[in-house]
Symmetry: C2
């Protein structure tokens, strides 16, 4: 039986070095780490993270790995789980442009936790992170992105996050090809997660579980555990169960030449990504014309099919419903002039009477030809004046990526309430210069 | 969206009590616990268990749960993982008569670990264990046993062990229906494992992972975590991803009336169960006719579809491959006249040149109509004589179950080298009387 596919991936992951990474790839790696670190801090005090941490009280090791933004440390496996749960819990993390996967969460959580207990330089962390994201995204593309055929029922991040975490951890541990292949096999054998869990805490638990099992897979492999060398392509193997027709070229073609991290995108707003161009339009209208929400008679939105299918939900009752309500966010934009976590993370924030009342003046209609990153918003004032804004490509889309400055604004909004101004500024600078760190574990420690 | 399936199972598991269990069910529950406890002790010092325990050194809690047969304690989540790994590592555990699942490992490991940190009487442990096994086996039947249609690529125990562990732990924790349903949902969302891992340590790691995630699911649910109430039947839910056509009646029909544990079987030989009737036939042929292996020209085996699919593997290189090699065990039977752990647990035992040479004379052919507990073996001697033995139902099959005495012989063979004669005898007696224990955690502690 051939094991060429699994072997090719393991060989690449075991051999690649920092010097092999193009500048643009290094830069996007840093931006991805920057973004996910901010999201981890932002989610660290979410009730769901508290519950998970509390449920395992007394069952974790003392360890030296930081539970980011939570003011204590634990063993690296628990830290990988909790930190990834935090980074995913608001769905504010990153998204691959083609495959439905949120790449950074499991990879960063595993790599950072390991870097704290086994010191490595920043270049090693960045390399490990890029490699993990690379294999994770390739695998996810190979399952479902045409010409591949596969079921959308699986959680992309749940079932591919583990290979990303294992490869990143394996790279940091310096595993050779056969041991890396074993780590990949162990991680794949524990790949799990399906979409019925949407709207529950199991959704962020899936990447968290992938982070933990991926890190553990690398540790097990290093210690001498075994797996099938043909975990991917073997009979009854990973590819056979997770895709009707996998695309092997997406998986192994051009390794070291094309890099999936260049297709990574970041979200400026903590809500369903199809709402984003609507928010861009509303915020632009408000600031350009100095609009007073109290004098707005109506808001007419021409929305994309995706926005209408997923987010045409008026009057949400809680955070999870608010996450996918374009009416909620339109009201938030005009009334508060921003779109932040604190605009949805409590029932009080969601059920604010001013927001509820405003939503009655918002009407969305389907524009079948409109792309998912596009929207047109027309405001009619009580005095009859009209203002229109059309967004062709929303901020954070592949065509209009978030700038470094926009990433800083996003990071700060999440980090300042937890770490304060000064530590947030220092952490952001440390992160931008991550490749120069002598000890990459400092990143997590600085975010304790 | 309906959630009647998940709700029915959760309601049954939350409500069922010891007094609801028929005597025969209680008795088979005890026999299952007895058997798996012996297997746990027998596997506790396997190198694969050492590797896993060592790989996580410093990453586990101090805890009070026994690592059975290993002389130390750890946190309950680690104990569930390690004890289940030990119980599964020789594939010497139990097997459901219809569904391809080894029921007791994940359920017992989760329940015993929890019973040590949250004391419960023996009746509660036995009830929790029976309920866990019940839902696990029902789910596995519902996926693939006709009229259900499903892929054999999944690891039955990997993908259903978690619900068993979660239900057993949930029962011990006294979860109410909604919380039990949440525990079930969390566990299912982490269900994983496929068969390409056969012959590697990932095979016992799959049930071990199920034990740990199942126990954790119950703890998370108790602490307030959330999942979909329709984890099984929901759109993009568990049943949709793990079966082409699930059999809902197998899952929820006759709850509390028919009990799957009555279809549990125990193995007299430490190898793939589909090889067992072949071993019975070979041992009978050898002893009845006083056959000398050196004078055997060929062995022709008419094997069941299961034996051919899983175990038609010549020339294994190590213990894990030997597990699933019908050629290996045929050679062992004719050359050594027995089929024991020591016939496979070292490379020396597996690569014995006499065994390797003999395997070249063994040929298995598919008999599509043959049941999994049946085999026909024909030996042709160098002098042309022929002997045939047909086994309709092998020892340890549902039709010819192992007796309590045979279970004691099996238990002792594994336990005496670890605990000694006296402690083994005391532990066996304690286990037979398990329902009368004031503190069920004593069982694990007595096997430390």
């Amino acid at each position: 039986m051939s094991n060429a596919v699994t072997t090719d991936l393991a060989a690449y992951a075991a051999a690649a070095r920092y010097s092999d990474l193009p500048d643009a790839v290094r830069r996007e790696g840093i931006r991805s780490i920057f973004n996910i670190l901010g999201c981890t801090i932002g989610g660290a005090r979410h009730q769901g993270v508290d519950i998970a941490d509390r449920a395992m009280q007394g069952m974790t090791g003392e360890g030296r790995a930081t539970l980011i933004g939570r003011g204590r440390k634990a063993d690296a496996l628990h830290a990988a789980l909790i930190n990834c749960l935090a980074s995913s819990i608001y769905s504010f993390d990153d998204t691959h442009e083609q495959a439905v996967v949120h790449p950074s969460g499991p990879v960063a959580a595993a790599a950072l936790a390991l870097a704290e207990i086994r010191p490595v330089p920043g270049q090693a962390l960045l390399t490990a992170f890029v490699l993990g994201v690379e294999l994770e995204c390739r695998l996810c593309k190979a399952l479902t992105v045409p010409p591949a055929k596969g079921s959308m029922a699986w959680s992309g991040t749940g079932i591919t996050g583990g290979i990303g975490a294992a490869v990143a951890a394996g790279s940091l541990l310096g595993l050779d090809m056969p041991t890396m292949r074993t780590a990949i096999g162990i991680a794949l054998s524990q790949a799990a997660g399906f979409r019925a869990m949407h709207g529950s805490l199991c959704t962020p638990l899936m990447p968290a579980q992938a982070a933990q099992t991926g890190l553990r897979a690398a540790l097990l492999a290093q210690a001498g555990f075994t797996s099938s060398p043909a975990a991917l392509e073997g009979r009854y193997g990973y590819l056979s169960v997770f895709s009707e027709q996998p695309d092997l070229d997406a998986l192994t073609g051009g390794l070291g030449e094309r890099f999936e991290i260049l297709r990574n995108t970041y979200k400026p707003y903590p809500c369903g990504i199809v709402i984003h161009p609507i928010i861009d339009a509303c915020l632009q209208l408000r600031s350009q014309h100095g609009l007073d929400a109290a004098r707005i008679a109506s808001v007419a939105i021409q929305a994309s099919p995706g926005a209408m299918a997923l987010c045409n939900n008026r009057d949400p009752k809680d955070e999870l419903q608010a996450h996918v309500s374009l009416h909620h966010w339109t009201a938030v934009c005009f009334i508060r002039g921003a779109a932040r976590i604190q605009d949805m993370d409590t029932e009080t924030a969601v059920k604010d009477p001013a927001l509820m009342a405003f939503q009655g003046r918002v009407e969305a209609t389907l524009d079948p030809a409109r792309g998912a990153d596009s929207a047109k918003v027309t405001v009619t004032m009580n005095d009859g004046r009209r203002f229109t804004c059309e967004i062709e490509h929303g901020i954070g889309s592949a065509t209009r990526p978030m700038t470094d400055h926009e990433l800083e604004v996003k990071f700060s909004a999440m980090s300042v309430p937890v770490l304060g101004e000064a530590r947030t500024r220092a952490l952001m600078d440390q992160c931008w210069g991550g490749a120069e760190l002598t000890n990459a574990g400092d990143l997590a420690r600085a975010a304790s």
